[in-house]
């Protein structure tokens, strides 16, 4: 048996370099892999080509959209005017907050299970082993951040010069890198990832506040969209110093932290690849919850199974600050869009209402989403499946009711008919609740269906039929509200039609057996049975005794 030097004298070990460990692992893997160099180059070529086409298309759409906007305000304002560039600056701030929050939730430095088991137990400098993992996320941020900021500023600014575009692109790239690198430095310093993510959430929450403040004060916040050389140099310095600190301190990240981050990243990547937004939400949220609370709630008001279910959903939402921020911030978006001079069009307002409402709606359905995966409370309580669904409408209904009142109320006020618009808001609320439940209880995507050509490549149609569950109810059920926004007034007929839409949405959302009309697309016409993973899929139904069926 081989003997090795004694460690008692604390002599440096004759261990290989981290780079050679990585190289050995990669070489061994390549020997067993069946990917040729040609295939690899082909993939790289395709990726670059797709990215270039995507960027070009986005720039074209942004500039065309900007040119199609009215040059003067569509309607006279009373002091509430913001230039388009201020909106762009606020969106950049929101992107920065999102990037920081996301980086903290993903680590940003982490390793997979195999690397943790077989690499991190070696007595080599971990810095060399972790370096590629540490720079993966900043590189991704640079690749995404630069083009996104450029497209955004191109949409907001007319007559942008080439040098301004370059400085914007560089600012986006370096800024994105700096944000992720600083999150990494915080990780090496042992800062709780929840704190870092909370800072990002606060930045996100600041966006509507700043926007409304700018609108009321008629201030232009569009500073830094075309960063000067001095600003760029400052950003480079921040990113470089942060990068060096991160690299030097990689050694100080405990293996449990690295493994935790790697686990989140793996789960999130799997969710993205499988287009499962619920799984992505769980991946990014699960490890952010405080494991210990100062005291437990006594639940004195819980006197029935129904109240227990409602309380569970409400507490789950309240204890997730990100979801609270998401609902509140989304409520300010339509008002913000209405305050931008060139965006104050019915189309822009209706789009803002739908998009912001959908974002808020997703944040209110955390309880149903988790119950779909693990119906723990559902199984404990003696409530039927249909009643469970109906009860689950309550929390999204209450929250989206407040949200809708906050959004449509000011519109009604500015149109001189607050009562009508508030009535419309009340009638529209159940649509959001029904869509939230339908979205939360949707089955897993069916990947076995026929392929359809899309700009993103070929997608199985079964995936699309599942992904539209939720948005379909919103689009169809909100037609009266959209018409009201379009014509700028509310009629009794529209309110009645909206109430009927609400009833249908509630029926669709609380449906647990058989099929609704909207589910027909997923039904197999030959057998009458549902496609695997489609409507009526037993995936979650098998897990849930009380909420089975679709």
């Amino acid at each position: 048996m081989t003997t090795t030097p004694d460690l008692d004298d604390r002599r440096p070990l004759a261990v290989p370099s981290p780079r050679s460990i990585r190289r050995y692992t990669r070489a061994a893997a390549n020997r067993h892999g069946d990917t040729s160099i040609g295939a690899l180059l082909s993939d790289v070529y395709s990726a670059i080509l797709m990215a270039a086409i995507g960027l070009g298309t986005a720039i074209g759409v942004a500039t065309t959209l900007r040119d199609s906007l009215p040059k003067v305000p569509a309607r006279p304002h009373e002091g509430l005017l913001l230039p388009l560039t201020t909106l762009a600056a606020l969106v950049v701030l929101a992107l920065a907050g999102t990037a920081l929050s996301l980086a903290a939730r993903l680590g940003p430095v982490g390793v997979g299970a195999a690397e943790a088991r077989w690499w991190l137990s070696l007595p080599v400098r971990r810095r060399g082993l972790l370096r590629p993992a540490a720079w993966r996320l900043p590189a991704t941020a640079a690749l995404v951040g630069g083009p996104v900021v450029l497209v955004l500023v191109l949409f907001a600014q007319e007559g942008m010069t080439g040098s301004a575009a370059v400085s914007t692109l560089l600012g986006g790239i370096i800024g994105a890198v700096a944000i992720v690198v600083l999150a990494g430095v915080a990780q090496t310093l042992g800062v709780d990832r929840r704190v870092t993510a909370r800072v990002g959430d606060v930045l996100l929450g600041l966006v509507p506040v700043l926007g409304l403040a700018a609108a009321l004060g008629a201030r232009d916040l569009s500073v830094g969209l075309n960063p000067s050389v001095a600003v760029l140099v400052l950003l480079v310095v921040v990113a470089a110093v942060g990068g060096v600190l991160l690299d030097v301190r990689l050694e100080r990240i405990p293996v449990r932290e690295l493994r935790d981050s790697g686990s989140v990243a793996t789960q999130a990547a799997g969710a993205v690849v499988s287009l499962d937004s619920r799984e992505l939400g769980r991946a990014l949220a699960d490890r952010m919850t405080r494991v210990r609370r100062r005291r437990s709630i006594r639940f004195g008001w819980v006197s029935s199974p129904a109240r227990a279910l409602l309380t569970a959903d409400a507490v789950l939402w309240w204890r997730s600050p990100r979801h609270v921020v998401q609902v509140v911030a989304a409520a300010a978006v339509p008002a913000l869009v209405a305050a931008v001079s060139r965006l104050d069009t019915p189309f822009a307002l209706a789009t803002a209402y739908l998009v912001a409402g959908y974002v808020a709606m997703l944040a209110t359905a955390e309880g149903p989403r988790r119950a779909e995966m693990a119906p723990i409370i559902d199984r404990l309580l003696p409530i039927g499946a249909r009643e469970v669904r109906r009860l689950r409408l309550v929390v999204p209904g209450v929250l989206m009711g407040l949200w809708t009142l906050a959004v449509l109320g000011p519109i009604g006020w500015s149109n001189g008919d607050p009562a009508g618009w508030l009535a419309l808001a009340v009638a529209a609320t159940p649509v959001w609740a029904g869509a939230a439940i339908r979205s939360a209880y949707r089955p897993s995507p069916d990947w076995s269906g026929p392929l359809a050509a899309t700009p993103m490549g070929a997608l199985p149609t079964g995936v699309g039929s599942v992904l539209v569950r939720g948005p379909d109810v919103v689009l169809l059920g909100m037609v009266p509200v959209l018409i009201s926004i379009g014509i700028g007034q509310v009629t009794q007929t529209l309110i009645v039609v909206q109430a009927v839409c609400a009833l249908i949405a509630v029926a669709v959302g609380s449906r647990v057996k058989g099929f609704s009309l909207l589910d027909m697309a997923a039904e197999d016409p030959r057998t009458g049975a549902t496609k695997p993973g489609g409507t009526g899929s037993t995936k979650s139904g098998a897990r849930s005794g009380t909420t089975s069926g679709r």
């Binding site: 090795t4 030097p5 004694d6 460690l7 261990v15 290989p16 692992t25 077989w118 137990s121 210990r292």
Partner: protein, 282 residues
């Protein structure tokens, strides 16, 4: 002259989110000794092992490994402490042999290929040397993990229920391996539910429980496991301290603990082995 104390734990408390999972434990492991942690499922054995390996921050007490505070971020710690937990993770494109070679070469073993070959034969994996771990059975993957634990120099070997998924023949071979480890001056800390392995390998045992964690002889611990009397509160072994009071807060290695009526000085119950210069076992 360096101390031969490999692990020193005093009132070591472990848990999650500030909640302890078991009573504090106190024990010392010296060179050439093997200490077994026994207890019911969920009693906290694996959590103690994770704290000793630096994978979990202790919530209280004192802990040192090889004379230093535990810090798995230090390369020298990883060079001296080998561990096999229940982390069934492998590089998907590396063969069984390559996993062992990676470990051996990464630890600076001169004849990594020779050592890997020996371990493959010893753990019954020779015929699977060139296959990917995904094609192995659950027991074979466990053997690979154990082989990797021996494929590198070490002064302390930490094993979490190493008998899991092993057939009887392999359990016997493992017991023999661990006895040899002790004889050569190496130290072993293991959590186990196997009374045979416990008696064959351990020099002392700690019964981990909710209310008390008690140091005892391997024979008594094995009897406790065999009789399935490991209650949740850890009192099924009817253990008490020398003064007749119920043993609480763990038993110091230097103290005296009476188990089932037998009074055994703990220091004597832990036979000293591995005198002289410690040699890292490949």
């Amino acid at each position: 002259m360096p101390s031969d104390v490999v692990i020193r734990a005093r009132s070591l408390s472990v848990g999650y989110g500030g909640e302890p999972v078991c009573a504090p434990v106190t024990f010392t492991v010296r060179a050439g000794e093997a200490l077994a942690l026994v207890g019911a499922n969920g009693s906290g054995k694996s959590t103690i092992l994770r704290a000793i390996l630096g994978l979990l921050e202790p919530s209280g007490g004192e802990l040192s490994v090889l004379g230093r505070p535990v810090d798995e971020r230090e390369a020298v710690f990883r060079a001296e402490v080998s561990s096999v937990l229940d982390d069934d993770a492998y590089f998907p494109a590396l063969t069984v042999a390559e996993h062992l070679l990676l470990t051996a070469r990464g630890h600076g073993v001169d004849d990594a290929a020779g050592l890997a070959e020996e371990l493959l034969a010893e753990f019954g994996l020779s015929s699977h040397a060139n296959v990917l771990p995904v094609s192995l059975s659950s027991g074979q993957r466990r053997r690979l993990l154990l082989a990797a634990g021996f494929a590198r120099p070490r002064r302390l070997l930490v094993l979490d229920e190493p008998e899991q998924r092993l057939d009887q023949q392999m359990r016997s071979a493992l017991a023999e391996r661990l006895r040899a480890e002790r004889a050569a001056g190496g130290s072993v800390l293991l959590a186990t539910h196997d009374p045979v392995l416990l008696e064959a390998v351990a020099s002392r045992a700690v019964l981990v429980g909710d209310e008390q964690s008690v140091l005892m002889s391997p024979a008594d611990a094995a009897r406790a496991i065999g009789a399935e009397t490991l209650g949740d509160d850890g009192d099924a072994a009817r253990t008490e301290t020398a003064d007749g009071a119920p043993a609480t807060g763990g038993a110091a290695s230097g103290g005296t603990t009476r188990v089932k009526g037998a009074s055994t000085p703990a220091s004597k119950a832990a036979p000293q082995g591995g005198s002289g210069k410690r040699r890292r076992r490949p």
